[in-house]
Symmetry: C2
Subunit: 314 residues, 2 copies
Amino acid sequence: MKFEAELSSLPAQTKLMPFECKKYLLQQCAVVEHALTRYMLSEEGPLASHIKAMRYSLFAGGKRIRPILALAAAEALHAPTADLLPIACALECIHTYSLIHDDLPAMDDDDLRRGKPTCHVVFGEAEAILAGDGLLSFAFELLSHPDAQQGISPIAQLQMINIIAQAIGPVGMVGGQSLDLAAEGQSISFEHLRLIHGYKTGALITASVQAGAIFGKADAKQFTALSHYGMQIGLAFQIVDDLLDVEGTTENLGKTAGADAQRNKATYPAFFGVAKTKIMAQEAVEKAVTALEIFDAQAEPLRALARYIYTRNN
Amino acid sequence: MKFEAELSSLPAQTKLMPFECKKYLLQQCAVVEHALTRYMLSEEGPLASHIKAMRYSLFAGGKRIRPILALAAAEALHAPTADLLPIACALECIHTYSLIHDDLPAMDDDDLRRGKPTCHVVFGEAEAILAGDGLLSFAFELLSHPDAQQGISPIAQLQMINIIAQAIGPVGMVGGQSLDLAAEGQSISFEHLRLIHGYKTGALITASVQAGAIFGKADAKQFTALSHYGMQIGLAFQIVDDLLDVEGTTENLGKTAGADAQRNKATYPAFFGVAKTKIMAQEAVEKAVTALEIFDAQAEPLRALARYIYTRNN
């Protein structure tokens, strides 16, 4: 799927040279990858097979959007980001755990993720559940790791842990997945769809940006602006996800295309059609960028990321 | 199962009047229950059915051993324990999540827990996985809750979160469950069985005691002593669990008796026979009590708990 033509209608402020954005993403992805390699347990000793299952999904070629968002939010606040890496890695562990559990036979029953067989296909259902559980617990080990205590006050770090835990819990990501499963094959309102999306996808994306904001010692105004940015790109991310399920190919996506329709899931395109849905994604990106008005050029990566979320094709 | 006769051989120091111990347990159980009721989300709004599944397992009549251990450890250090309650509740949420996931069809496939149908029997497999995920995330919300920041320095609280996260993660409880599943039907060494038990059961019990120790501002010597106590009662707890599976009834246990033998699981009785296993449990309790020598009468509940773990019948 390409939105190139439509991009010209985005506000000038959102425009970065495509090369710069791509370069930034690649650079930051490599930084996160390196940190994940450093922090993640190695496949040694009696627990090797458990750790292997976690590593399989963690190093399956994710885009590392959530950690990159956290780093970019701190960057927008002129904070050096090296000490934020354990937190960034924790966000990716949480995201990976959620994918492993969502793909389980009892849940969405997906065989393909990031272009590879899903964790339960390779390691069996029991180990996939445990790999997810292990990654979630390990995320909180990282969030409270001595390395994560650099460049941030202990009180701020506790606040960050609390925000992340809330975002992924019963009134957050997990609750969203529960609502999503319950809604399958049901006729739901658009308001209910927004609620599901907000919990299931928006909450962790917003919390990732907020984690960077807290690390960067955002004042109340900056924190509110970054939170608003996070909510809008979370929304854009989910709308594009719905679009990709319609317009993408299984090869491009690395996961089964058309799965939403097959499961009779409520989506933005099902409610509004593809054309209007694209406009809605664009509007969310514009709102996200507008929320960054109070920031200087250091927020350019955040602006570029908003645009990337709109143009991504997997 | 009754060990009354054998109790007479326990060192005098471990003896409390049975009534006192029972009374203490009932009192503390009520305190924890009240705090859980206060902190746990209520079944309201769009997420009601997800929260219902979590509450179903959380309020299914658990013994609250881990929270009570945390409170008793703080008590041994003369610390007022009211502010430790959010942490104590978090430990119970973690324990409940681990039971829900262990009982899943893909894992131990148990239909009965605490005398009631297991979470997946009542709410289905998908919701049971999510109820576990929700409780685990919620536990970290409690661990970093503003209420949990009373009576403890932020640095000590981060250390506590880190210890708990490590204890329940890949090199802890989750890793132990993975090893346990892999060992089913296999011929394993006694050393391997100890390793599994240490990770699967011992780690969280030890971490619960350590959480109380940190809250109570234990010095290095006290922390080591309490950790040693935790490891020994963790061991005793697991040995007694193995014994109960052989000698208990499904009615008493509230879960299927004889399940270990049915699954061809390595257990202490399978290695050593019932008589020697009982002596080993007793030895672990004695070691636990000996570890408390440096503490005064305020550690009496911890000593009583060690004895209770040996005499419990469910």
